[in-house]
Amino acid sequence: MRAFQILIDGFAISALYALGATGFTLIFGVSGVLNLSHGAIMVAAAVAAWAAASILNVGTYAGALIGVAVALLAAFATYFAVVKPIQDSRRIPNEEKEIFVLTGTLLWGIMIQELIAYFFTNNAKTVLPIVEGVVDVLGVRTPKNEIFTAIVCCLVIALLWLLVNRTRTGKAVLAASMNPRGVTLLGLELTNIYIVVWAIYGILAGIAGVLLGMFLGVSSYSVGPLTASAFSIVVLGGLGSVSGSLIAAFVVGYLETLTAYLVSPAYRTIPALLLLVFVMYIRPQGLLGRR
């Protein structure tokens, strides 16, 4: 009974983590950017969905769409206002661009977080779920919303896999992550590829944010922990490796759920952090990372 509960809850959480981390790792793999405003973009999507559904009364579906649209806009704003100027800057030496992108996106994330707190307060917000009710799965009373979350996450990740491996655009993205210079030599504009990647990222982060808002609820305080969890999942899986992040998301998700159920919810994040430190020591490039 309890085993099934852990299995089901852990799956939903892990799928959500996986979705949130996939976009993050995709951007790193293609353009070498670690986007520390990730958590802020997810929260922005959830809060937008909440505001649209609860204040403007547009309904849950439209609300969710508005949330994803806001995340998409936020992702583009991050790229054009923060990341691209730093990448193109001649005054910043190349070897320091990484830390500038980190600092810049971090500040940008704080700005988004503060704006959300200013306009919508720090209170936790729960987005109205698209499907309501409870269903019995293997003897465990499970909210339908939880199942919905898991299904949507898996579907979106499958779609992403198809997009990257089966379409021309996707193959260009894949090629850019392997050898950016080679791609430009083949006559593809690297900036266009980056824009595509940021668009994919925005949609993924938006869906993840809205689902998180329905499943657990968000507040502007969730920004830091969300970024940190995406960052650690991605590093655990190997920076830039999408399949590595998926595995890592499930490892972390289940580890957290197990600890929360069997030990105490207060210690929830500790085993995952310990595992992370351990993996860094014996395999610094992560589970499936290339060096």
Partner: protein, 308 residues
């Protein structure tokens, strides 16, 4: 090194310190209190700049070093009643040990991987403090019975003196041959090693020095506040402020980091009337500086001087 004492930078710094030292004679205790905190923060930022600007290590967890120093000093004083000065020294030593622990992964992993390790170190420390609430005071914080002094002027002078001495040592170190080797090993470790420099030794030294000053400053801050809490010395947000200070003031300048920290804290106070938007405005200004003046305040000023 000798030529430094004739540069404009030296005279400007000297003048600033002298002016700052006379402040208690004519400003209110409120301003002094604000600047006292800003000076301790300045040391945090300078110690961070030594690691990042010179050793090339992206340390996302300056508060790990600060927190270990601060909490060690606080716990020894609050739980065992040891004297303030002994606690401060032991806090700094504990921080040095923490620095060595942090240096171990740094010698193995680089860039974002090291950054994450340091971030994890902070999160672990935070969890540890909450879990061992009996010893550490948990989320509420630890109340410390002793303080260095209750006089705002004395506290201010201690902070100013401590920052000035730290700045002199850290700046001197950064301009010395050791600093140059550090800079070389940060930028191209393979080549620096091929030239015969012991990179491991130099990096370890950088971690120890950075940790020592972070811990010392953290311990002093705790005895100034009379309390140690996660929100003031450990939280990731505090670490972010330290990093932003250093980048804002100008990385690889050491002195700029202190300027950045003072600016950040004073600006935050000036913007208090704007309420919740204060952090937004400070972050926006910092972002603009990062985008348009990547050298920071001091970097921009120095490059103008070099050009003229």
């Amino acid at each position: 090194m000798a030529s430094f004492f004739t540069t404009r930078l030296f005279f400007i710094s000297l003048a600033l310190v002298i002016i700052a030292a006379t402040l208690p004679l004519y400003v209110s205790g409120y301003v002094l209190g604000l600047l006292t905190v800003a000076f301790y923060f300045g040391v945090f930022a300078m110690a961070w700049d030594l690691l990042f600007g010179f050793a090339g290590e992206v340390n996302f967890g300056p508060t790990f070093l600060i927190g270990v120093g601060a909490y060690t000093a606080g716990i020894l004083n609050a739980q065992f009643g040891w004297s303030v000065y002994l606690c401060i020294v032991l806090g700094a030593l504990a921080s040095v040990i923490a620095g060595l622990v942090l240096a171990l992964p740094a010698l193995r992993v680089r860039g974002p991987y090291f950054g994450l390790t340091t971030l994890v170190a902070v999160l672990m420390l935070q969890n540890f403090i909450v879990v061992f609430a009996d010893l550490t005071g948990g989320e509420i914080g630890l109340t410390i019975p002793d303080v260095i002094s209750i006089d705002a002027g004395v506290n201010y002078w201690i902070a100013l003196g401590f920052m000035t001495i730290s700045a002199a040592i850290l700046y001197g170190l950064s301009q010395s041959p050791v600093g140059l080797v550090l800079q070389a090993s940060g930028q191209d470790p393979v080549q620096a090693g091929a030239l015969g420099f012991n990179i491991v030794k130099h990096k370890l030294a950088a971690f120890i020095v950075s940790a020592f000053f972070s811990g010392l400053s953290g311990a002093l801050l705790v005895f100034y506040f009379g309390t140690a809490s996660v929100g003031t010395v450990v939280d990731v947000a505090v670490g972010v402020n330290v990093i932003v200070s250093a980048v804002l003031g100008g990385r690889r300048t050491v002195l700029g980091a202190a300027l950045g920290a003072i600016f950040l804290i004073v600006a935050g106070e000036f913007l208090r009337p704007t309420g919740e938007l204060a952090t937004f405005i400070v972050s926006a200004v910092a972002l603009l500086v990062v985008l348009f003046f990547p050298g920071g305040f001091l970097g921009a000023a120095l490059s103008r001087e070099a050009r003229s």
